[in-house]
């Protein structure tokens, strides 16, 4: 077995030999990648936090938002260049570390990186700030006086997930509000964030001390405590229990922005189900299921499909199954470990061995797909509440009579709602969006785009940048009171 060794993280002011390293091994197809991740002592972490915070105040804050967008754009254009050394490293190693098919990672990342080019970043800033210049200096306020937005001096990120390169979202947000950034690598994908930090510094060397990428095991010990103690704001991704554990160790004055695990779903109107449109729609739906094997917060768990169209919900489930079979050939599912495999088996069993109940005469539950296939489609004639499947390309199709039935079926999971993919007429779209929005959905997309949020989306319905900043206002009274003291006033 050949072994590739990579040093992860980015630690300005510390040399490799100063730091303790731990090795995370990843084995795929006879190839081993050993990722060395840094474990900092509390005093090292403390010094790092000070360094990043002070350097950002000196360097990053003096750049305009447009300057910062330009720097990020230059870095991202290198990530989009398949011949660039960084991109080559990403394309070579992220599939090995994450287990996802190389083609899927390559395609997914290119689409993802495109949302971080300059025009998209300008739009991103404009989404949250009517006048983006408030990030650079005081701007006149409509009510009188002036206003300016300050980002946190130190923003700590706790990244999670084996959706590759996920760290880019919050890191870019932190940079745009000129925060000093220290992020904690997820053990499942400990590479991208460190590479991006180094790339940024290559593109614009003065940023060298403005960000750092660290690691700790599990919830972390004293090193993590030392870092959290200095954070002005914390952005964290993970399950609710993990998020709660982080929140518990933060001072009450630290702003905590949590992105918990979510459940996505799709709705297909009868209007979208004719012989021509239904197969194409199933192809796009399969794409959303396939992308990162449903590990994304936006990934669908169930498609509610309306009866009464030319194509019955049961047939739609069949189309979806054959599209998943097609995608498996081109983008094979990640190999499952025993625990994941058990979860998939148990989910399938729960459908296969569902106790028969007499009132269900004539209604059917059906598991489409061979157990050895790397995907499963479960079809049910019953209304089904939104609940997670076993992921790994396991999806439910539930036949429904009316689109109005969907909101009550998902409402119980309000706190877990985020993305709904909808295929319906414009009138139905707005009616559904109204109902689903009230139930807790924060993002409505086309089916096929569920797994690719557009640039400037409001993650979990929040303001990505506004939530990070603090506004400082010069009230009209201060301005008026200053006037008499001007030397030119007689």
């Amino acid at each position: 077995m050949s072994v590739i060794r990579v040093e992860a993280g980015y630690l300005p002011g510390l040399s490799s030999s100063d730091v303790q390293w731990r090795t995370l091994p990843f084995d795929r197809d006879g190839q081993r990648v050993e990722v060395a991740v840094p474990e900092l002592s509390p005093s090292q972490m403390d010094a790092l936090a000070k360094r990043v915070r002070d350097a950002s105040a000196r360097t990053l804050r003096t750049l305009s938002v447009s300057d910062i967008i330009d720097i990020i754009d230059r870095a991202v254009s290198r990530l989009l260049d398949r011949d660039d050394a960084y991109r080559r490293q990403i394309d070579a190693l992220l599939p090995l570390v994450s287990g996802y098919a190389a083609e899927m990672v390559h395609l997914g990342l290119t689409g993802f990186f495109k949302t971080f080019r300059a025009p998209q970043l300008h739009r991103f800033v404009a989404e949250d700030f009517a006048n983006p210049k408030v990030l650079d200096g005081f701007q006149p306020a409509i009510k009188g006086g002036a206003v300016r937005a300050f980002g946190p001096r130190l923003l700590v990120h706790s990244w999670a997930g084996n959706v590759p390169a996920l760290a880019l979202w919050s890191l870019v947000c932190g940079l745009l509000v000129k925060a000093g950034n220290i992020g904690k690598l997820p053990s499942a994908e400990p590479l991208f964030a460190g590479w991006f930090a180094r790339l940024l510094v290559e593109v614009h060397p003065p940023l060298a001390d403005c960000l750092a990428v660290v690691w700790w095991r599990g919830a972390g010990g004293e090193g993590a405590d030392a870092l959290y103690a200095q954070a002005d704001a914390v952005v964290a991704y993970g399950g609710n229990e993990a998020l709660q554990a982080i929140q518990r160790r933060l001072p009450v004055t630290t702003r905590f922005l949590a992105h918990g695990h979510k459940l996505g779903f799709g709705v297909v109107s009868a209007a979208a189900l004719d012989a021509l449109k239904a197969p194409a729609l199933a192809r796009r739906a399969a794409w959303d299921v396939m992308r990162y094997d449903q590990q994304g917060c936006y990934s669908p768990q169930i498609f509610y499909v309306q009866r009464g169209g030319q194509i019955a919900p049961r047939e739609f489930a069949g189309y979806l199954a054959s599209e998943l079979a097609n995608l498996q050939r081109r983008y094979p599912r990640r190999p499952l470990d025993l625990a994941e495999s058990t979860a998939v088996a148990k989910w399938r069993q729960s459908i296969e061995w569902k106790p028969s109940t007499p009132h269900r005469q004539g209604r059917e539950d059906l598991l489409i797909g061979d157990p050895v296939a790397a995907w499963s489609v479960a079809y049910t004639d019953d209304m089904q509440a939104l609940a997670p499947t076993a992921l790994q390309r396991s999806i439910v199709v539930a036949g429904i009579d009316a689109l109005d039935d969907v909101a009550p079926a998902v409402a119980a999971s309000a706190v877990f709602l985020q993305t709904a993919g909808i295929a319906a007429t414009p009138r139905e779209l707005y009616r559904l969006a109204e109902q689903l929005g009230a139930a807790g959905v924060t993002r409505v997309s086309a089916i096929g785009s569920m797994s690719a949020p557009e640039a400037g989306w409001h993650h979990d319905g929040r303001f990505n940048l506004l939530d990070l900043v603090r506004m400082t206002e010069i009230e009209h009274s201060a301005e008026a009171a200053a006037d008499p003291f001007a030397p030119y006033e007689l």
């Binding site: 991704y237 025993l338 625990a339 058990t342 088996a345 061995w353 050895v372 119980a412």
Partner: protein, 360 residues
């Protein structure tokens, strides 16, 4: 071939014989498979969904393994219910509302399987010995396969003074201490049998009382079933170390039995001097390690979920898929605990967390 009657006579004969060849095992397994395939509609449709038919199943490891959850969802049986049948139920370790049920229209197969195997693996040539049992009897727990197993051990292999040390409030510790002291004095080997969690309570009580015993040479212990939330969780090493220190039974005579309500045959180790110990069964049960998602046998040497083909299971299904992780080992397999539900690695909610979040 006769598919109407279960091949019970042949199974009894097979269990009674000394060992078997691969071909002999396959022959009886396939016969049992064919019988169950024809006798049970739900089993047949399960097999058909996996493309397994009497025609293309050629050896025991081609037989699809039925997940143990199926014992909860439906009545897996070949013979119609009778008033005299025994029903063993799972203890409902995970979901108390839904217990798996295993129907035994007759117990002669189960009993022969148990006694043949127990004589060899636990008694090891001793005909009878005094036994103490740390588990309710089968009158108190008529649906417990373990209660039946232990009662059978006591009546078949215990001397007349063998007894249960259970009171309505738990283990009768005073009675047990007296009996152990008597065994110490008499020098006659003693056997203590029970649920693993009962032994944890014994360990804790002995420690609390500052007592210990040195049972005579040849004394032995049989524990089974894990802790099931009935006692604190003790790592295997600490568990067997404590047993041998506090009761004076060497660890190679501390034997663990691995059994399941869904089976009619048990597995044993040859003591627990080293943990985890290698488990193995008699010639009428065979095990393979599978990938649970596909049901396929994993490549040689890899971990997998245990599937057992038990020729004693003549009325339910011959091959079951457990939820236990196994690893191949010389002469048997290592039992590595239950396969836990997968933790979400990404940002999508995993089932386990969802269930916890909606639980009251």
């Amino acid at each position: 071939m006769n598919y109407v009657e279960p091949p019970v006579a042949d199974i009894l004969e097979f269990i009674a014989q000394e060992g078997c060849t691969d071909a002999q095992f396959d022959q009886l397994a396939l016969r049992l498979f064919a019988y169950q395939y024809h006798a049970s509609a739900s089993y047949r449709s399960f097999c058909q969904r996996r493309g397994a038919t009497v025609r293309n199943v050629k050896s025991w490891d081609d037989i699809p393994a039925v997940p143990i959850d199926a014992f909860k969802a439906m009545e897996l049986r070949c013979e119609p219910p009778t008033p005299t049948e025994r029903v063993f139920m799972t203890s409902g370790t995970t979901r108390a509302d839904m217990r798996g049920r295993h129907f035994h229209p007759r117990l002669d197969v189960y009993n022969l399987s148990m006694t043949r195997n127990f004589a060899q693996r636990f008694m090891q040539g001793v005909e009878r010995m005094p036994m103490g049992i740390l588990f309710p009897d089968d009158i108190a727990m008529p649906n417990s396969s373990l209660a039946h197993y232990l009662a059978l051990a006591k009546t078949t292999f215990g001397t007349d003074d063998s007894c249960y040390f259970m009171s309505p409030t738990g283990i009768d510790l005073q009675g047990l201490w007296q009996r152990l002291a008597q065994a110490e004095r008499s020098g006659e080997p003693y056997a203590l049998l029970g649920a693993s969690y009962s032994f944890v309570h014994v360990i804790d009580a002995l420690r609390k009382a500052g007592r210990s015993f040195r049972l005579p040479a040849g004394s032995r212990i049989l524990d089974t079933g894990g802790y099931k939330g009935q006692s604190r969780e003790l790592p295997l090493e600490a568990f067997y170390l404590a047993l041998s220190e506090l009761l004076g039974v060497p660890r190679d005579l501390c034997i663990n039995m691995y059994g399941m309500t869904e089976l009619s045959t048990q597995f044993y180790d040859d003591g627990n001097a080293v943990v985890p110990s290698v488990k193995s069964g008699p010639h009428w049960i065979r095990s393979r390690l599978v990938d649970p998602a596909t049901g396929r046998t994993v490549p040689a040497g890899e971990r997998g979920i245990l599937a057992h083909c038990d020729l004693g299971n003549f009325n339910s299904v011959n091959t079951i898929l457990t939820e236990d992780v196994g690893e191949p080992a010389e002469g048997g397999f290592l039992l590595l605990g239950r396969a836990e539900g997968a933790q979400a690695k990404g940002c999508s909610l995993a089932v386990e967390e969802f269930i916890r979040s909606v639980a009251p």
